[in-house]
């Protein structure tokens, strides 16, 4: 394998590590379409889903171009097997209740914003352009989820208890956000990728600050789950993919 070909495979993998998070979270949020707790949040969550899906398309189109062989964004989205999806475990967690939806969104948005902030300066022009476009949208997502964390945490006794339950439960998936795969390490060396482990500390301090403001306790886990970024997912992933892929699997190459 020539070094350029190997590099392009690593870059492709690196793109998926970022894009699959947006893709799977978009799908999770899309499930809420018409099922939000009230009209405004229903619209907000599906708008966020749409932003993430749009960002995913830009990344997948780029990855498809690198993959060659006439591959398209749809092949990447719909025709991979579970082990080939590189999203972190956090984004595939179910919409258990509104507290979980907001908790998952908040824990991801803070990370996502920090990642894009750095990715804007990537030496890869396409990734930098996608990041510059996306960060404007993600700043709205972050504001939305942060506001709701405070509203629910500092709301009624019941909303506080539910929000606390979700944060406590989802916390064990936060450490994986900063886990570096081989593709990420290789791309950092190239000046293309971002050393995400570098902003772990500031992530936790920013998240903790908002949780405290929301009168929520910051969990003190010793144990964290990981695996998604290496393709080893939780049981929820299979159900997501079944929903997402059945049309293309049943009627290959079908067009809308």
């Amino acid at each position: 394998m020539s070094s350029t070909l190997k590099d392009s495979r690593l870059l492709e993998n690196y793109i998926l590590t970022i894009a699959d998070n947006s893709f799977i979270l978009a799908q999770r949020l899309g499930e809420l379409c018409g099922h939000g707790p009230n009209l405004e949040t229903d619209i907000a969550l599906t708008n966020i889903s749409l932003d993430l899906l749009g960002q995913t398309r830009s990344y997948y189109q780029y990855a498809a171009k690198l993959a060659g062989d006439g591959k398209t964004e749809d092949d990447i989205a719909f025709l991979r097997i579970e082990r080939e999806y590189k999203n972190c475990l956090l984004v595939e967690q179910p919409n258990t209740h509104f507290g979980y939806v907001i908790g998952r969104q908040f824990l991801f948005d803070v990370y996502h914003f920090m990642l894009l902030e750095k990715l804007q300066n990537s030496e890869d022009e396409t990734l930098a352009a996608i990041a510059k476009k996306s960060i404007k949208e993600v700043s709205y997502h972050k504001r939305f989820s942060g506001d709701w964390i405070k509203r629910l945490g500092d709301g009624t006794e019941e909303s506080n208890q539910k929000m606390q339950e979700a944060i406590k439960d989802l916390w064990r998936f936060t450490d994986e956000l900063f886990y570096m795969t081989d593709a990420e390490n290789a791309m950092v060396e190239e000046g293309i990728g971002i050393d995400i482990s570098a902003f772990k500390e500031s992530y936790y301090s920013q998240v903790s600050e908002i949780l405290k403001e929301a009168t929520l306790a910051v969990p003190e886990n010793k144990y964290f789950n990981k695996g998604g970024k290496e393709g080893v997912h939780t049981e929820h992933m299979g159900y997501i993919l079944a929903d997402l892929q059945y049309m293309q699997r049943t009627y290959p190459n079908m067009q809308w």
Partner: protein, 166 residues
């Protein structure tokens, strides 16, 4: 912020003016500032289009509408989506902003003011119906990702506010 240069050939402008945003039909693609380049080469009109928001479904429709508009005068179109530089609400023309207000959508405020109103800290968004600034935020996301939902506390009309994007 300076307006990034666009490269639009003059003779194509009349046709471009007939293509409007499917969500806000009073705005043409030129008002919206999404056409970054339009040049004709060998009877093919090459257009560079920049999305307002990444997932904006209007972009596909706009691309189809551009193709249809030029087909009427026997020209083929090739549309390329460009992401960089990223679209900003600063690119909406003044004429476009006026039409938007007449249509019932409040125009984007400056970045700082936008943050203030979306956090509910200040009342600055002007009601497009009665021009009062005694308005409040109902939802940060409105009928589309680019808008937020507001309500006027004087005339009690709900309305869309076009969020600042920079």
């Amino acid at each position: 912020m300076t307006l990034t240069e666009t490269n639009i050939e003059k003779h194509l402008i009349p046709v471009l003016k007939t293509v409007s945003d499917p969500e806000i039909p009073v705005l043409t693609v030129l008002d919206l500032g999404v056409i970054r380049e339009a040049v004709e080469e060998d009877n093919i009109v090459k257009i560079k289009l920049t999305p307002t928001y990444s997932g904006c479904p209007a972009m596909d429709v706009i691309a189809d509408d551009l193709t249809a508009a030029f087909a009427k005068i026997g020209k083929k179109v090739s549309v390329e989506l460009v992401l960089s530089p990223a679209w900003s609400t600063d690119w909406i023309s003044e004429d476009g902003l006026l039409k938007m207000e007449e249509y019932g959508i409040a125009r984007p405020l400056s970045e700082t003011h936008d943050k203030d109103v979306l956090l509910g800290e200040k009342k600055l968004v002007k009601c497009p119906q009665c021009a009062s600034t005694n308005t409040h935020l109902v939802s940060q996301f409105g009928s589309t990702a680019c808008k937020a939902l507001f309500k006027c506390d004087d005339c009690h009309e709900p309305f869309d506010y076009f969020k600042c994007l920079k």
